[in-house]
Every structure is written in structure tokens, then in C-alpha cells.
Amino acid sequence: MTVEQNFEALDQFPVGMRVLAVDDDQTCLKILETLLHHCQYHVTTTNQAQKALELLRENKNKFDLVISDVDMPDMDGFKLLELVGLEMDLPVIMLSAHSDPKYVMKGVTHGACDYLLKPVRIEELKNIWQHVVRSRFDKNRGSNNGEKRDGSGNEGVGNSDQNNNGRVNRKRKDQYNEDEDEERDDNDDSSAQKKQRVVWTVELHKKFVAAVNQLGYEKAMPKKILDLMNVEKLTRENVASHLQKFRLYLKRISGVTNQQALMANSDLHFLQMNCSLNGLDGFHHRPIPVGPGQFHGGAAAMRPYPSNGILGRLNTPSGIGVRNLSSPPPGMFLQNQTDLGKFHHVSSLPLNHTDGGNILQGLPMPLEFDQLHQTNNNIRNMNNNNKSIAANSMAYPNFSTQQNSLISAPNNNNLLVLEGHPQASPSSFQGHQINKRLEHWPNAVSSSSTLPPPTAQNSHHDSLEWNNVSSSYSIPFCDSTTPGLDTTNPRAFCRNTDFDSNEQPGSFYDSLQMRQSGNYGPTTDVMLSSNSSKEGFVVGQQQKLQSGGFMSGDAGSLDDIVNSTMKQEQSQGDLSGGELGYGGFSSLRTCL
């Protein structure tokens, strides 16, 4: 049999590949062991699945491959297969005397890389190393793109093999390198295993914030945070990316309120922003039939945020915001450029809209906007108007100017021009608000078929919408899109009558929240509906707006909202008009 003559162990992959063989049948096990030896692998055998698991758990880096029989008395081979795949993420080969395709299928579906029939022949075993290479290759490619380096030269194989081996070797070497193990494991775990999207729920985020606070904002390191949080299945990577977003977020809103307040309130807001973005992502990518360049353009422009896993989620808010900016019609709350780091994108949006566009103060309700965008030409118009969808969920002062313009600009698009209320205290969770709002959106949307009178209504609507939006946003974003998230201060926009309290940035959310609950009536419906359907209300609203300018239909309901918002608006001061950017965005409510 052909064997490589060099026995330099590890570096001579596949020579020296470490195999764990499991079979309750002693005869077969012995034969298998010998066969594997003849392939020049390093073999460890056990006739008990439990023992095998122990060995593997002891040090998952000790083995490259597992070969296991199917029928074993102490544990089903498939079960072992699953466990190994999940826990250790090693390639597993099944072995059985059952040639029934059903078993083979079962093996494959449980994750086996291969299924061999007994009696095993040496020719088959000579090739099993490819599974190891393949799985490592995939892992590396997935996670360690930057880490690949050509491994030491391996003889007897082609260049590709060399590379593979190199990678494998590197991986193996790295395995012995404790420092990198964790990273790698994290990477591997995240890329090789089913990447579980980590949803940063409010609770989780709270824990995160608590950990950060405990460590000290400056000193907060992902690893430490992770340790403090002590959450299962959370990886350092998850925390790191979340931390990054969080930091950016804080920077954004830091101008508005003090850090502490932000930190305290930011949970929801942050989440909302993120959530909504995530949720909105869908919107973004939704083919925007509206076609208007604006929307799409905006959307496109706005879509800067990456939607990867958590980040994706987190970013969605920003994305949303961004979207809003560009295309979003009035309703969009785009975070101020300064907002949310991620939401930066927003800034890129054409804030220059004279009208300040849809400045979605607070959380951008991408969902809604997208919806709107898609359907409403108005929105497009709005875009023009709103451009600056400065979705400053958090009190973006700069919006005031825009807001004004926004407000004045009839939101034909029914965009929720959530003007960034300067006061909106975006920090807390505008997202929540929005989410909640969003929930109500559908209702609101329907009602807000007609845009409320531009100014008055707009403001109201805005707030309402905004509130709605916020609520709705939170929906997409956080899994915990529970109204309970009201903890964040909705921006003053919240058209909730309660808005008054929103004056303060921090309170914004609160007010929004309140609003949400209250006002959500018609406007919220709009938003909510949109949220729910993701296209629902916002778009619907838009539509309506388009036709009637403002949602006259909704006016009725909107009126309430408007009124409430108006009050708030007034209190908010700048919020008026511009912020809400309602202009008939009752549907837009998406405000934050």
C-alpha cells in the first residue's frame, strides 16, 4: 500500500491524522484500528460512545476525525454523531453494516461527512482525511479569512493540498497555541456551527450594559464583558460587535444627554435602533418598486449597514435610518448622522433636503419608510422634502431646522417626518418606542390614511408616527419587541399625548412610550400595520398620503394623535413640524 514515507507526524498531514474510532464490536474495532494504522493515521479506539465523548470533551483539539459505528449499545451512533458535530465540530464518519439507504440518509442528515459500510476497506480509509481538510477549510474560510497562511510544505500532494494542509497545519498548530484557541474556537464555532443569530434582547442588552458599566466604559473589553454577562452561547465576537455598535451609538447621542442617561436609557433605544434596522433590513432590500430614485437611491444609500448577524440587526436601525434619509419620506426617522454610529449612514443621506426630509428623530423606521418608499411616490417627494431624515431619535438638535422644514413640507408621502427632536432623548430606546409604535402602526396606518394637516398634523403625526414608529421599530429589531420596552424615552415625537414629558431627551422615549400606548390609535395603526406587515402601514400610509396628500382618512384618528403630538410638539419646541415630518405621514409614524 502506498504510504508516505515521512513520518514527521503532524506536519505531514494526512499522515498522523488523529482519528478516534468508536465501535462496540471488538473485532471490527481491532480491524479498523489496524486499517487506520496502515493508512498512517494516529488512532485511538474505544468501544463505548460515552468514553469517546469524554475523550473528545477532554480536549477537542486532540482529534481530527471521528469514526463511529452506528449500532452501539450505550448510545446510538447518530446521537453521538450529532453531539460531536455540535460540541466539538469535528468531522464524523459513520460506519455500519447497514447498507440500507435510510441509514445512510440518516447519517447524512445528522451531519456525518461520510458513511462507510462494513467491512471497511483500506482504500476507503485512505481517503477519509479529505473530510478533515474540507471541514477545516470551510471553517477557516468562514472565520479566519485573515489568518490563513501557507502551511509548511507537505510532500506528496498538490499545491492545493499544500494550501489546505498549510491551513490545516496552521490550524493544528494553532490548536496548540492556547492564545489563539479561543478566538479560533469562537470563530469556528460561529462559522462552522450554525451561526446562531444573537438577538440582543433588552434583557441581554441590559446585562451587557451592566457589565460595561461595571467594568467602566473605557475599560470595557469584550472578553470581560462576556465573562460578566455570563450568557450561554454568546461569543466574544458577538459582544465585541455589539460593543462597537454601542460605543458608536453612545457617541451619537452623547451630544444629547449625558452618558449615564444614555447608558441607562440606551438599552431600548439602542436596541430599537438596532432592531429596527435589522427588521428594516428586510425593507431595505425589498425591491422598492416605488422606483423613485429617491427611495431606492436613498435606500441604497442608506443601506450602509451590514446585516450580519447581530451586527446586522443592530445595524438595521441605522440602516433604517439611513434609508430614511435618502429615500425616506418624511416619516423616516433617520438618525442624525451623528447618531448611532452605525447610523452614520444616515448622515450620508441627503440631509440636504431643504425640508430636512424625514428626519426621523430617534429610531428610523426603516420598515415603515421602506414601505412607504416603495409604495409612495409621495415619499419620494418627501424625500426631497425631508431629506434630512435626521432620524435623531435622540434629540438631535440639528434637526430642528430641518424639522421645521419638514413639518412644513407637506408630507405627501405621509412620511412620518419624525423630525429629530432635539429633545428627543434618543437615548433610551427609541427603538422601543418605535417598536411599540410600529405595532400600532397598522392600526394607525389605516387611520392615518390621510395625512394630517401638514403643520399641525404633521407635528402630531410625527410624534405619533414617530411613536408608532418607534414601537414598530422595536419590533423588528429586538426580539423583545414588547411594548414593555417603553423604558426608552421615545422621542418627543411620540405623538402620544404624553409627550409632554418628553421634552427631555431622555424622557423622550418615555414620552414616546407613553405616547405609544396612548396614541397609537390611528397613527400607530399605520405604523404598526406597516410594521407588522412591514409594508403595511407605512406604505399604506404613503399611498394614502399620496392621494390625499395627508392622510385625510386618518385624519380622524390622526387628529387625536396630532393633537397629542401637538401638545408635545409644542413642548418639544422644535419638534414641531420638522420633526414629525409628518406631513401626512401618519402612516409614517414610523418615527422613531
Binding site: 471488538q26 473485532t27 481491532k30 480491524i31 449500532d71 467491512p119
Partner: protein, 145 residues
């Protein structure tokens, strides 16, 4: 001597007691593993004796738990296949067929047959190995002197 050994081996193959798998096992035998085949055979017989015992008991109980019997037999078949015990393997298959058919009578009959084959093979192999050992470890399998 070696010739004798070789002849015996040949006859085993010819009579269908052993199949190619046995040959493959022999190929695995080398300096590092001079008595590999013998060791494996010993293992096999030890294991299979245990299995046969289990099946015997199950059958004696009279409760024909076909599923259980089937799984025993599956195991038996697996090891027999690995070692190249041809005839034994064939009996295993038959037994399992009867099991699946729920044919208790057939199972019993087949099992008796299986036991017979099994012990025959065992004896023959023991004899074979004995001779082989006498003839000299390495050469027996490869080059009759």
C-alpha cells in the same frame, strides 16, 4: 509445512468459509503486526461466542423478541463480515430474514445452523493458525517455502 498451511487456507476459501475480507486482513499483517489475523480471529470468536450465548438465551426464553434478536444478529453479521467469515455471514442474513418475517421456527433452525458453521469455522481457523505458527510467522501467509 508452509505448503500445507497454504493448502489449508486455500481450501477454506474454496469451501466458502472465508472470503476476500480475510485476505485483506492478511494483507494488513506485517512486521508491526505479525499475528494480526490470528488476533483478530481470536477476538472475533470471543465476541461471537458471547453473542451466540445471548441469542441462545433469548431464544430459550421463548419470548421471541424479534427486534432484539435482529439487532444481535446484526452485530454478529457485522463482525463476521469484517473477518470474512463467509458462511457464518450467510447464516446471519437468513436468520435476520426470518426475524423480520416473524418466523420463530425459521429463526431457531437458522440459528442452529449458524452455530454449527460458526464452530466449524472456528476449528478450522484454529487449526490453520496453529500450523501457520509452526510454519513460521511471516512466510505462511505469503510465500510458501
Amino acid at each position: 509445512m508452509q505448503r500445507q498451511v497454504a493448502l489449508i487456507k486455500q481450501s477454506l476459501f474454496d469451501q466458502g468459509y472465508l472470503d476476500e475480507q480475510f485476505m485483506a486482513l492478511e494483507e494488513l499483517q506485517d512486521d508491526a503486526n505479525p499475528n494480526f489475523v490470528e488476533e483478530v480471529s481470536a477476538l472475533y470468536f470471543k465476541d461471537s461466542a458471547r453473542l451466540i450465548n445471548n441469542i441462545d438465551q433469548a431464544l430459550e426464553r421463548g419470548s421471541f423478541d424479534f427486534n432484539r434478536l435482529d439487532s444481535y444478529m446484526h452485530q454478529f453479521k457485522g463482525s463476521s463480515t469484517s473477518i470474512g467469515a463467509n458462511k457464518v455471514k450467510a447464516e446471519c442474513t437468513m436468520f435476520r430474514d426470518y426475524c423480520r418475517a416473524g418466523n420463530a421456527e425459521g429463526c431457531l433452525r437458522t440459528f442452529q445452523q449458524l452455530k454449527k458453521e460458526h464452530s466449524t469455522l472456528r476449528k478450522k481457523l484454529e487449526h490453520y493458525f496453529q500450523l501457520a505458527r509452526q510454519a513460521g510467522p511471516k512466510e505462511t501467509a505469503r510465500r510458501p517455502k
